[in-house]
Assembly symmetry: none
Homo-oligomer: 146 residues x 2
DNA sequence: CAATAGGTGGGGGAAAGTGGGGAATTTTGC
DNA sequence: GCAAAATTCCCCACTTTCCCCCACCTATTG
């Protein structure tokens, strides 16, 4: 399972080191794509397959919302490769979407890695953490006991 | 079951000794994550599995509340490894969240361990203990009789 | 009071992250 | 079609962080 938060830098050549803890889970085959809330998502091959399946089911319903969502997810997807130092090269459009510059935060979220611009991540944190007890109680209503 | 309260120090290298009483219950596999009320929570593997399952179900619904909460819980979580001295290394983001510096208090709470900044813990105690009878009666109103 | 167990601290080797030179490949422009 | 430019990726070097090991200190126990 992917978890944890790591601050890394995109170097002048546009390369980003994947934390070694994550590399062990990711393997060599993975997908980089636009994520929700203006971050990037990196899915291990297996998880990606699972999602593709889901999206495939949805597309059968051929409603416009699903079509748009699928375009969003798949349109931006790129197969990732690691260099021998464990780094990926981020395509310009993806960097632009997530507003990535130099300092980024890599966050393990269960089945994927999210890549955030550091400032944006910290702003979100600052915004959400004061309300986390409220969030927690909503989660409890949804059936989670902590 | 985890119970009791221990004062320990985080050493200059950021390491925290887990009380040996707790180690016996924790085993070698556990998760450290942000808890409510600005403390850290350490869950034994079994407890964590239970929560993970719940979170995974919810993540499918992809509603924003769940997404934020999962980021909160997992984003910062780390798999615990104890060194040969029975210590964990606390990542900076977790220390920052709980305001941990040097003196901390480890509290056994049923199925998890909470880690508090010592000052904060004592303040909370000082604040809550005089009112504990009131708290108890509030609990009773909620249907929780002891 | 010795002996043991638990907690604290630091040295040092190994691993991870960072950055840059430069070769190989692809893309671009004439 | 070919040279120039850009891109990608391998390699090496440096720095930082992690984690093993050992040593010491303190409290508890026989």
């Amino acid at each position: 399972m992917l978890a944890g938060e790591y601050s890394h830098n995109i170097d002048p050549k546009g390369r980003l080191t994947i934390p070694s803890k994550f590399r062990k889970v990711l393997g060599t085959e993975f997908m980089v794509t636009k994520g929700l809330d203006k971050c990037l998502s990196i899915y291990p091959e297996s998880e990606w397959k699972r999602m593709e399946e889901k999206l495939r089911e949805m597309s059968l319903t051929t409603n416009q919302v699903a079509r748009k969502f699928i375009r969003f997810m798949l349109g931006s997807a790129v197969e990732g490769g690691l260099d021998k130092q464990g780094r990926i090269l981020l395509p310009q459009p993806l960097k632009a979407y997530a507003g990535l510059d130099k300092e980024v935060v890599l966050v393990g979220v269960m089945d994927r890695i999210e890549v955030w611009d550091k400032d944006k991540w910290e702003q979100n944190q600052a915004h959400d953490e004061p309300n986390i007890e409220l969030l927690a109680s909503e989660m409890e209503e949804m059936g989670l006991s902590i």
